[in-house]
């Protein structure tokens, strides 16, 4: 199993990042080592074992009442953004 330059570029796109070719080659080398390492799991027989996504069992997580609460106000949340105007987040042009 190996990650080639094409795969690195595909992963970069999925990850919303971009690298020049030199960096992509370097990252590819590192990713290959990691993939080799995690591939050890292929030797473990797991037939009939249910995948476990959490250590929390359903019974210990009660549902809360479905009522409206206000935790944060708009102004303080907006204040964290790099650019805002008239109560809106300003983002780069989306439609050309």
């Amino acid at each position: 199993m190996s990650i080639d330059l094409k795969t690195v570029n595909k992963l970069a796109k999925l990850s919303m990042m971009k690298f020049d070719e030199e960096t992509a080659i370097e990252i590819g080398g590192e990713l290959n080592k990691i993939v080799d390492f995690i591939s050890q799991l292929q030797e473990v027989p797991t037939e009939g074992i249910e995948p476990m996504s959490s250590s929390v069992s359903g019974t210990s997580t009660p549902e809360r009442d479905d009522v409206v609460t206000t935790t944060n106000d708009r102004e303080s949340l907006m204040a964290t953004s790099p650019e805002q105007e008239m109560g809106f987040f300003v983002v780069p042009r989306v439609i050309e």
Binding site: I3, T7, V8, K10, L11, A12, L14, S15, M16, M17, K18, F19, I27, E30, L31, K33, I34, V35, F37, I38, S39, Q40, L41, Q42, V44, T46, I49, E50, P51, M52, S53, S54, S55, V56, S60, T61, P62, R64, T71, N72, D73, S76, L77, A79, T80, S81, P82, E83, F89, V91, P92, R93, V94, E96
Partner: protein, 488 residues
């Protein structure tokens, strides 16, 4: 003795008894940090005015005869916990200048108990690392030896406690990020059961594994800190709806006789430093001499815990970190269009290790590989968990080394991700199974020319924190370990 040398419980008692004021103690610690931070780099944000305001409010409460559990005691808070009005970045460039408009539940609980926010501690970027070298704010140095790492990811929190820059601090532990730095700095670090502390307002890394916990210079203080920060929170659907126990109460009332301690043979293997082993053996012998029953057990899937972890954690991280797009908070690097802005922001904003993990996460989650990697790792996670369940049918607690070696040198493993990952070999299985674990100092030894501490790890069944802390307390009393003296 300087005020900054006081422990957590000691500080709270002295403030309550009006022997000292919170303002005096807070000033003493702020001065200590100012004198030491250039060297240790344990703190990334200090808000002196904010700390002193909280201290004054505490002193007022004491005057009114209304002190709470931790009234007026200054605490170090890992930069992973959102603190309202005080910069929180998870030590990532991408969260540049982020001032949270809300408070994490863990810190909210601490302030409700009277704690004072002393400052935000350094950490590996987004808690991804085992040496605190991935922090955007630079590496933290180990107070025992400045050429060594304090471990990670909660390296700043551990170093701050060891170096008397706070009596106790918060940490988070996704694969060992509390226990490993505790081992490296001669401090006590506890990661409770998954769900014991709320994750609300704790910047997410791997949500099914992340759990908050505490550092202190002794077991009793760690227990008091944990008690003050934990509890059910309706804002975190995975938090456990169980009453908080008074972990620090009657720690000494514990009979070792008959305690069944399991030693997993897979943890005493090649790669474990012989001197580390000798210190752990000595700790075990102490328990045996007091009547504990030592049982050899097997956790056969141990070997696969690290690879399973390095599939599950990056996969969850890739999903969690997709929120950083430069639009609503943190860093924005303008590009030619919206997509270009996303890409530039993320490429510049994340460090190398974070990028690696996002890429690996997206690889194991991508179509064609999902079942072979991600689902496979989840099945192995179930097997690792089953190992523990079977072991706890036979024993009360499990004792192991916390780390294969004491602290390694800064720069020592930074070029080899796999070597760095293997440093978590004794800690990750606990996170996969959601179990509580702690590290308590076992002694000091010479390693690569330095005198360094090393810890022993205790693991228990879910919600057995009290038993673990009592065992650790008994160990502490039987072990000759001197915490690092306060150097000036």
């Amino acid at each position: 003795m300087e005020l900054y040398e006081l422990g957590l419980k000691e500080s709270a008692e002295k403030i309550k008894n009006k022997e000292i004021t919170s303002v005096e103690l807070t000033k003493s610690l702020l001065d200590r940090i100012e004198a030491r931070n250039a060297e240790i780099n344990a703190y990334v944000t200090i808000d002196r005015e904010h700390a002193l305001n909280m201290a004054e409010a505490s002193d007022k409460r004491v005057k009114e005869g209304n002190p709470r559990l931790l009234e007026g005691v200054p605490l170090g808070i890992k930069d992973l916990f959102c603190t309202k009005g005080v910069r929180t970045t998870a030590c990532s460039h991408i969260l540049d200048g982020f001032i949270p408009p809300y408070e994490s539940t863990v810190t909210e609980n601490l302030w409700r108990a009277g704690g004072v926010l002393l400052g935000k501690t350094n950490m590996d970027e987004f808690a991804m690392g085992s040496s605190n070298e991935t922090s955007y704010f630079g590496a933290v140095k180990n107070p025992w030896d400045l050429s060594c790492t304090p471990g990670g990811s909660s390296g700043g929190s551990a170093a701050a406690v060891a170096d008397y820059q706070c009596a106790a601090s918060t940490g988070s532990d996704t694969g060992g990020s509390i226990r490993q730095p505790a081992s490296f700095t001669g401090t006590v670090g506890i990661k409770p059961t998954y769900g014991r502390c709320s994750r609300y307002g704790m910047i997410a890394f791997a949500s099914s594994l992340d759990q908050a916990g505490a550092f202190a210079r002794n077991v009793e203080d760690a227990a008091l800190m944990l008690r003050s920060m934990s509890g059910y929170d309706e804002k975190d659907s995975t938090s456990a709806d169980r009453p908080i126990e008074n972990y620090d109460n009657k720690l000494a009332e514990f009979d070792i006789k008959g305690l069944k301690i399991g030693l997993p043979k897979e943890y005493f293997v090649e790669g474990l430093d012989l001197e580390v082993r000798a210190l752990v053996d000595k700790a075990i012998k102490n328990f045996e001499d007091q009547g504990a029953e030592i049982v050899e057990i097997s956790l056969p899937y141990t070997k696969y815990a690290v690879p399973a972890y390095y599939i599950i954690a990056p996969a969850e991280a890739a999903a969690n970190l997709s929120r950083y797009d430069g639009m609503r908070f943190g860093l924005r690097v303008e590009g030619e269009n919206l997509t270009d802005t996303y890409m530039k922001t993320r490429t510049e904003g994340f460090g190398d290790e974070v990028k690696r993990r996002i890429m690996i996460g997206n690889y194991t989650l991508s179509s064609g590989y999902y079942d072979a990697y991600y689902t496979k790792a989840q099945r192995v996670r179930a097997l690792v968990t089953k190992d523990f369940a079977e072991a706890f049918e036979k024993v009360d607690i499990i004792m192991t080394p916390t780390t294969p070696t004491p602290a390694f040198k800064i720069g020592g493993k930074v070029d080899d991700p796999i070597q760095m990952y293997l440093n978590d070999i004794f800690t990750v299985a606990t996170n996969l199974a959601g179990l509580p674990g702690l590290s308590v100092p076992a002694g000091t030894m010479t390693y690569e020319g330095s005198t360094l501490p090393v810890g022993v790890q205790m693991i228990g069944p879910a919600f057995s924190e009290r038993k673990l802390l009592r065992s650790a307390y008994a160990h502490e009393k039987m072990t000759k370990f001197n915490v690092l003296p306060a150097k000036s």
